[in-house]
């Protein structure tokens, strides 16, 4: 098996970073449950999906998460933090 190229869209960048995804997009400020944007915002959803797929052809660093901003989304949310320490 050669493997299948993947790109992740994550709204929990710190949590996802721990798994070192090959390619990943964090649409900044999107809340959990809104990976592509809000319901019915098809133009925004298309933009996010084009950007995510676009990472397949860009020279990204494996394990790195790319943050992009989408002002059309509206109200921004803080992503969940990874707890540190034991």
């Amino acid at each position: 098996m050669r493997g299948v190229p993947t790109v992740l869209i994550t709204v929990s960048p710190e949590v996802s970073a721990q798994m070192r995804p090959p390619r990943a997009l964090y649409p900044k400020g999107f809340k959990i449950g809104n990976s592509l944007g809000r319901p019915g915002m098809r133009e925004l959803q298309r933009k996010v999906l084009r950007d995510a797929l676009g990472l397949l052809t860009e020279n990204t660093r494996p394990g790195e998460i790319i943050t992009r901003e989408y002002p059309d989304y509206g109200e921004q949310y803080d992503p969940p933090q990874v707890k540190t320490g034991k």
């Binding site: 190229p5 709204v11 070192r20 449950g33 592509l36 019915g40 098809r42 797929l53 394990g63």
Partner: protein, 141 residues
């Protein structure tokens, strides 16, 4: 933050997007309304996954997942499973086509080893054989 010590499973992409077929794999608990829902009663999580056909009517999809608020996905499944969005990108020529298989699973488990060594390679095998996907978009909740 602790990083995974496993190597990054990076597979190069050496194609043009406009000639590529794309599959969606989501951890957002998406499945067809007539498929068995994920078992949210089991505190250990559900290790299963559901295959979603490419021609699916997005109104026939639903979410069974109790570890994120899926009210928005209930209104528009495309916020976690962008099948209609993918169709738009195919229509505009940004991608070449839509894969023959897509996958929904419930991205919550206390059985990490079973998920990593069982479910994940099973999903990868489904995509690898018969989906004709050149690349996969992964989404969470």
């Amino acid at each position: 933050m602790t990083l995974s010590r496993k190597c990054v499973p990076f597979t190069p992409f050496d194609r043009e997007l406009a000639r590529s077929t794309i599959a969606i794999v989501t951890a957002g608990g998406v499945h067809l309304k007539d498929q068995e829902p994920f078992n949210i009663a089991d505190e250990l999580g559900d290790l299963g996954f559901r295959l979603i056909p490419p021609g699916v009517d997005s109104a026939e999809l639903m979410v069974t997942h109790h570890h994120y608020d899926h009210a928005d996905a209930d209104q528009d499944i495309n916020v976690v499973f962008p099948i209609d969005v993918l169709r738009d990108l195919e229509a505009e020529g940004f991608i070449g086509g839509i894969a023959r298989k897509h996958v929904g699973y419930m991205g919550y488990t206390m059985q990490l080893k079973a998920m990593y060594e069982g479910t994940a390679p099973e999903i990868a095998a489904e995509i690898d054989k018969g989906s004709r996907a050149d690349a996969v978009v992964l989404t969470g909740g």
